[in-house]
Structure formats: C-alpha cells, structure tokens
Amino acid sequence: MSAQTNAIVHHDEPGDHEPVEGLGALGAYTKDYLARVRGGELGSIPAMAGLVVITAVFAVVHQGFLSAYNVEALVIQAAPIIVMAMGLIFVLLLGEIDLSAGTTGGLCSAIMAVLMLRHGQSWWLALILALVAGVAIGLGMGYLRARVGIPSFVITLATFLAFQGVTLILVGGQGSLIIPDTSPLIKLENGFVPLWLGWTLLVLFVLGYAAIKVNDALGRRRSGLSHAPFTVIAAKVAVLAALGAVFTYEMGVNRNLSTNAFFNNKAQGMPWVVVLLVILYAVWHFILSRTRYGRHVYAVGGNEEASRRAGIVVSRIRISVFAICSGMAAISGMVAASLLQSVQSNAGAGNTLLLAVGAAVIGGTSLFGGRGRIIDAVLGGLVVAVITNGMSDLIQGANSAGYEWVVTGAVLLLAAGFDAVVRRGRAT
C-alpha cells in the first residue's frame, strides 16, 4: 500500500468490527456457517459425503473391506491417483487440461528406472533427474500453450501419444523394468513408518495445525477483524486429532494375514507414502491459499483478461502450472513404480489420466477454471480408489471384466450423482 492511500481514503472508524468471544461467538459462527451452507457454499461436504456413503456400501457388501489390511491397500492404491490429481488441479484451475499427465508419469518413472538399472546411478540421483525431466516436459508444454498458442487439448494429446512411445522404447522388449528390492524407493509404498515415529509425526502435525489456526485468529484479532472463535478452532483440532489417531491406530495393527511357527513377520505402521501425501498436501495447499502465486493462479483461472490488466504475467502463470502438473505426474509415476516395484512399457497409459481428472472433478474442481482446492484431489482420489478397490473382487469368472467395468461406471455415476444432488439441493 502506497503512502498515497492515507491521503485519499477517509478513515472513518478503524476496527469497527469488534469481535466477540466465548459461547455467544460460537453460536453466531455456527449460525453463519449453516446459513452459508444453505446458501450453496458447500466446500468439501459433497465429496466427503460421497466418500462416506460409498465406503459404507462396500463395507456392507464386502466383508473385510475396512480391515487394516485393506485400508492399507486402499491408501497405497490411492496414492498415485491423488498425487497426479494434485498436479492436475493446477492445470484445471486455469481451465486447461493435461491429457498427458499419465504418460508423463510413466515416462519419468521409466527414465528413473533406466538411470538406475542401465546406467548404475544411485536411486536418489535417478529420482531427481526424473523429476527434473518431468518439470522440463511441463515447461515445454506450457510454452507451447502460452507462447505459441496451441490449445492444450491438442498439445497434450500429442505428448500423450509421444510419451507412450518413448516409454515403450526405453523399457524396450523386456516388457518391464524391475526395480531392485534393495532400492529405498520400494519402501515408499511397501515400507512402514515405525509405530513410535508414526505417533510422533501425528502429534507434530496436529500441533502444527493448531498453532497455525490460533496464530491466524490472534492476527485477525490484533488487526481488529472478526475471527473464528477459539472454541471452533479447538473443535477442529480435536476432530483432526481423533481422525488421525484412529488411522494411526488401525495402521498399527498387525496386518499379516497368516503366521506360523516358523515366520513371525509383522506388517505394522502406516506406509511411508502417507507421509509423502501429507507433505505434498501441506505444501501445495499453502502455496495455493497463502502465497501471491496461488492467488494469481485463481485470478487467471477466473478472468484472464482482468488478471492481465492487473499486471499479472499470465503466460508465466500458465507455463508454471503445466510444470507443476508434469512434476507431480513424475512423482505419481514414481509412486506407481514403487507400488508395482517395476516400470511397465505401458506405464501411465490407459485410464490413468481419466481417473485422476475424474478424481479432481468429483472432489469439486471445475473443468472451466477458477474453482478447485488441493483437498479435492485427496477426497476424489480416495473415492476413485475405493471404487476400484471395492470392485476388484466383486464379480468372478469369465467376462468378469465386462461386468466390473459396467459396475465401476455405475458406481462412479452414483457417487457423482449423489454429489450433484447434495450440491443442488442446497444451492439457490
């Protein structure tokens, strides 16, 4: 704010919105929240409701669906989808599409595997180089979109095809490149956080969350602005802590299905990928909601012309989101490689991309730009993973694939329909 302001603008009553505190404030806050929900500001409610309903249905249909064994399977299956969807949200926020995110991920994981296996690079160097390749790919596609002006659908359709080819050439006739068991990368999806560390991380996480929320509220109070009552903050922290504790506890149960006199391996603790997911979520959420860059991403997605007139370099924002998307796709590809302990010649092809975009959209992100949050990727990705996991054993025998596809489609539609009806019923 320039010095000019004070001279131009009358300062009537600074701090005219004196905040109230205590239970009265809580009541007012709740009433306001409910009114906003009735007014159509639903946030993540529909996606969460959808997730709960679908999980409940499968828990009934399928015994053992909520066993520690299957919950862990669910999480590690969801991880690559969620990571990819997080990156896609940036592109979708600008109203663009990246059809090649899947094959970019496949390509980057192939690059990583080739560097490790054929060129004897260490796993971390291979990983970094693959990530760099992903970002570079994104920069290239972003450049073609922002500076040359080719529609992103066409650019990424072309790279979708081309990267499939490159991956095939890299992996070559072997069909798949197998990542050595000894590589720490395998641990990501197949290794478990020790129990004590899991609980410590949870405590740190909850404390961090609480600190940020309280700090926010205090800051607003200092500036004389209304803020969320501390009771609400306490309640949110409590819910977060409870959910986290339930999850950490369930992941602490031994998941080994059979033991015997000879072997006594235990599978205990949450998979490392959970830590990765939490970090990625925190970083991108922070960037989108609390930095200038994030603000500009929303602005360009909402009204490109207005953003340009506000002095935002739109092309730079546009290039950056493609870079983020491809970089996240690369990470997603590596997570998938960790899951499969190998890189296939068709890695990232098929429905990978469609499912990730579907996850973002089910979570609440708009394909037309300007609306979407990182949590959408998490919730939508879980919905998709629950559906595919839940379906994978439901129908047996010849042609089971056909019926499974049909039912998967139907369930997806039901989830989305539920979501739409919740949204509509409340919206004006």
Binding site: M1, S2, H10, P14, D16, S223, L225, A299, A306, R308
Partner: protein, 261 residues
C-alpha cells in the same frame, strides 16, 4: 509552464480489421488537472483508453509520457509508467472476493512472504467505506454477488489506492447512485490536487462541466477539439459531441461528415 504534459498522444491510429476506430488522434493530459474525454457512443473513447493502457497496440502514432515517447506493449508496461485505469467493462475476477480483487497484482505480503490478509482486509474495508458504499455486507464476499454499483465501486477503489501519475476512469459513475457519484467526483478532484493527471471519460455533461479543467471531444474516431473548460459552455460541448463542430471549434465540415468510416 515549460514542463511537458504528463501524457501526450500524437496522431494515434487504430483499426480492427476493416473498421477504422481512431484516426490521427492528438490528446494531452497535464499533471494536477482533470481532463475529460467525451464523445458519442462508439466514438472511440474506450478504444483510446485501451491503447494507453496497452490492451490494444496502436497502428500508428506516438504515446509520450513526460516528454519521452514510449511503446506500451501490455498492461504491465502501462502500470510501470504509472498509469492506473478503471475500465468501462470493469474486469474483475468473479471467483475472488472483494479484498482479493482490490489487491490483485499488488498483494501485501508479510515478512514470511505469505499474503498479509489482515492488513489487506482492513484497508479494503476503509476504502469502500470512504466511497459511501454501505450495503456491502462483507469484504470477503465474492464479487460475483455484488450489485452493478458495488462492482463499479470496487473497481474504482482498486485503482485509486496506488501512487500513480496518470489515473484514467472510463465512465466510473455510470452505475453509481447519487451519493456515490458525489464521492467519486470528490475523489477525482482530490487526486488532481495531489498532482495526478486524471482522465475522466463520461457521458454526464453536468459532472464533466463540474470537475474538468480541460475537455477533449472525440467524434467518430477523430479528436474534434481539446479545449479548456472555462472557454466553452455545455451547449458547445454537446454540439461538438453530436456534430463534431460548434462554430469555429471542431472539425471542418468535410471531415465531420466523412470521419473515420
């Protein structure tokens, strides 16, 4: 004065495909003065403003800032030259709230390089209050839900908050009520008093006659005349607007009939 005008346009031409919109337009705006730009609908006022703001590139002619010719490649260049513009079509991001729109592109940040939402919110509230907008329930409201006048106020507040050398307002009071219009005219005068070169585009002759120091009249894409406020009457200005000439002022009769098109 021997100093240069803050902004000077010389022989500006602009056409869109087959349509010639501006033909060798000359125009000046001095620091500390309110320069009105008037003209009939479709005369080319907004196009001229957009040329200054770098939204359109001029086909020919010069933009001279403080005596130095400059090329303005885009809105960023204009902003760097100290030009602030409220566009007629407002251009707000509907998916952002009032505070976010008002500080777009110039967000305040804390030492940690995060957005300083608190000070932005406070300043936004003050700016709106000072423009007599009392019906905005919350500055955290999406601009999509604002009334026409509220949107306009946000756009005006957005542009006058910053230290700039030239402030251009393209029909800022079109959607405003009586009290709000007063406030904006007041603001215009205060800006000029601070040494800013203010350009006001308006159809309201009363307002123009009230606040302008100098008046430029566009007629079918030509500058019919730029005159001192005190040298003309309202009737003369209206004549210039509708016919391109008034007595010895304005275009020659040949020009005024065949102008631009």
């Amino acid at each position: 004065m021997t100093t240069h005008p803050t902004l000077e346009l010389r022989g500006v031409d602009k056409s869109f495909g087959p349509v010639h919109v501006l033909s060798s337009v000359n125009f000046t705006a001095n620091a500390g003065e309110v320069t009105a730009l008037v003209g009939d609908n479709g005369a080319g006022k907004t196009t001229l403003v957009k040329c200054i703001g770098g939204i359109h590139r001029v086909d020919a002619g010069e933009l001279i800032f403080d005596g130095t010719p400059r090329t303005v490649q885009g809105p960023r260049d204009a902003a760097l030259l100290g030009v602030e513009i409220v566009y007629q079509d407002l251009a707000l991001c509907d998916n952002l709230d009032i505070v976010e729109n008002m500080f777009l592109g110039r967000e305040e940040i804390t030492r940690l390089r995060t957005l300083d939402e608190n000070s932005m919110e406070k300043l936004a509230r003050q700016a709106l209050d000072s423009l007599s907008v009392r019906t905005v329930h919350s500055v955290r409201q999406r601009v999509a839900s604002l009334s026409g006048g509220q949107r306009q106020t946000v756009a005006i507040a957005k542009s006058v908050l910053w230290k700039s050398k030239v402030v251009i307002l393209d029909e800022p009071t079109a959607a405003l009520g009586v009290a709000q219009t007063e406030q904006v005219l007041d603001l215009v005068r205060r800006l000029a008093e601070q040494g800013v070169a203010v350009i006001l585009v308006s159809h309201n002759m009363n307002d123009v006659m009230k606040v302008a120091d100098s008046i430029g009249v566009l007629f079918l894409g030509r500058m019919a005349a730029q005159v001192k406020r005190k040298d003309v009457t309202q009737t003369q200005v209206v004549e210039l607007i509708t016919a391109g000439r008034s007595g010895e002022l304005g275009l020659s009769s040949a020009e005024s009939s065949g102008a631009a098109v």
